[in-house]
Symmetry: C2
Subunit: 341 residues, 2 copies
DNA sequence: TTTTTTTGAGCAATCGATTGCATATTTAAA
DNA sequence: TTTAAATATGCAATCGATTGCTCAAAAAAA
């Protein structure tokens, strides 16, 4: 008797009513009398009844699971977004399956499939940096399953999305560096299809133009934007003897690499070269000097994304309701970019 | 027709056989002829059949989901372990639900409940730092659901567990500091019930004793081991005027805080004070100077944990089979702890 | 050729909750 | 008092896959 878990049938039996009534009572169906509801609830508690979500999912077609696909959970930005999503989802009694693509397009496809197979009610995703084909996301849409993208989005998909204003963040950062006296600002970017780096590059270029500083292609370094890539890019610039007085990297990791290389070359930051990154990864505040960066409003982004998602879930025609939210990032000025008098 | 997804019944109908046969064919049951299997597989592909895991889970009682509970996914150590777990799980066609307790005992209890309700086939967990009551884990065991703990374990639970040899790691680190000439080594630890900090403390103490250096309680700072706590602890020591020539912190975050405070007090690392942390968080290699730390073998730990878990899953009597694996950590020596001549 | 085994499949119940369609009982309106 | 409307519950099918049991046909043994 302790053995098998209690089901609605057990409750029904004890109360001499049917399982349907119990089910309706538990779901607070208006067709059930208050009295019966009370009794059912009481008996449910007494029998330590735990609803079987799997049975419910099978019948109702709703798994109450939402799949969250991120490039890597091991990044402050992504894990914070996830946290924001979780907060909202849990309130609504949804569970979150986090899965990681590890920036690998192949793995991303598999993962989408796996989530679909797990019968999630919808998917929230941020696209891997190297993804150039979006068929697997189209597949989600074709099935009429709600999809919301955040941060790493693409124009090739007509879906709801939540992003920060990367252009603005980059523009402000570049402007700040210019105000600190910089004229030869190196920019680290990524050549991929993903929106964010393009936008940041645009912000960088426009800020320069607006200050009447020519955009010098020699100062723009493309890479995969990891720490190692930042090192390589910095070495490149130094080796080529290209003069520069600042680095604005679209990734905190890459700017960290630059800082290391500058240190090794005994180039002083910020007096000789000023630095700014993007992302506000925690380590940027640990370094010596602490690095100026752009905060991406990760927790709000998670919450907004989840809210967008659940609105979508409520609607009938998933496709027609695409919605784009843009959050303002915040420039966090630290020592690495400040003029030394 | 495109509408509803194909089921085994659709396959059965097309082939003029029954769903049971299809089911068995798909599961490679020996009672089905090779020929039939081939046909079924072909038709399945043709109809783009995707098994409904939910239906299968309901009937078989196996959800093919495994719950992973970590204090926070946003830590290199934990996310690496998760990655190791995922690797193994995915190979075996299991999906992983990651959930975070955020070091909050209350949230941890809720999360365990949520996982249980999601009908995971088992749980892999690392206990929150502030958890002092383990009833929710006992509940898992009582239900006969496999549970494996890693890293943050407790003696109050009789379960399979995978840990590193924290004692060894701490002993070696302390010994290393002593060899570099340190005699007054501050230790940052956490007062909680969790094993790891106790073991590290023990390693620290024994290394001192073995070198005939008295253990001075004034040098041992207890805290929650975050960056801020490390700052506070370091300020404490300095303010009290307690002489010291090294800090060995059981957490990389806390040692980072110490480094900041030392920097602010113009105390030079490593020439005046040497530092070592624990965990090999990526940022420890970014700092100036890079920080000596202990690598916790996170990916192997994840894999071993998953392997232990799946072995457990195979067994009948879950309880009797507890198994403890201890991995050797590795001391990573960097500039922060090296003797300056 | 008859009997026994082996092999390949079908039948039908089952997992637990949900839900459209009755039906019985009250209550309100005519 | 009769009829219509509202309220509370039951019945039974359903979601899709799994599985114990039964059975027919084919192969092997007697």
């Amino acid at each position: 008797m302790k053995k098998g878990k209690a089901t609605i049938h057990d409750i029904a039996e004890k109360l001499n009513i049917t399982a349907s009534t119990v089910s309706r009572a538990l779901n607070d169906n208006p067709r059930i009398s208050e009295n019966t509801k009370k009794q059912v609830l009481k008996m449910a508690k007494q029998l330590n009844y735990q609803p079987n979500h799997i049975a419910s999912a099978l019948r109702s077609g709703k798994s109450k699971l939402i799949g969250v696909l991120v490039p890597t959970a091991n990044r402050n930005f992504f894990s914070s977004v996830v946290r924001g999503i979780e907060d909202i989802a849990n309130e609504l009694d949804y569970k979150v399956i986090i899965s990681q693509s590890y920036e690998d397009p192949e793995k991303e496809i598999q993962t989408v499939d796996a989530l679909l197979n797990a019968r999630v009610d919808g998917i929230i995703a941020s696209i891997g940096k190297n993804t150039e084909n979006f068929e697997h996301f189209k597949k989600i849409l074709d099935k009429g399953i709600p999809l919301v993208l955040f941060d790493r989005i693409t124009n090739e998909l007509e879906v709801s999305q939540v992003v920060i204003d990367d252009y603005y963040g980059a523009y402000e950062t570049t402007k700040h560096l210019i105000e600190q006296g910089c004229k030869r600002i190196v920019h680290f970017t990524s050549p991929k299809k993903i929106n964010i780096y393009r936008e940041r590059l645009r912000g960088y270029e426009d800020a320069l133009k607006d200050a009447n500083i020519p955009v010098d292609p020699a100062l723009i370094e493309e890479s995969n934007m990891q720490l190692e890539d930042g090192r390589t890019s910095m070495e490149n610039i130094i080796t080529k003897g290209i003069p520069f007085d600042a680095v604005f990297s679209s990734s905190d990791y890459a700017v960290m690499g630059a800082l290391q290389v500058l240190r090794e070359h005994k180039i002083s930051v910020p007096s000789q070269v000023k630095l700014a990154g993007f992302g506000n990864e925690p380590f940027t505040s640990f370094t010596a000097p602490p690095i100026t960066t752009v905060d991406q409003k990760s927790i709000p982004m998670g919450r907004v994304t989840a809210e967008t998602f659940f609105e979508l879930l409520k609607l009938e025609d998933k496709k027609s309701a695409t919605h784009k939210t843009v959050l303002k990032p915040e420039l966090i000025i630290r020592e690495s970019s400040l003029k030394t008098n």
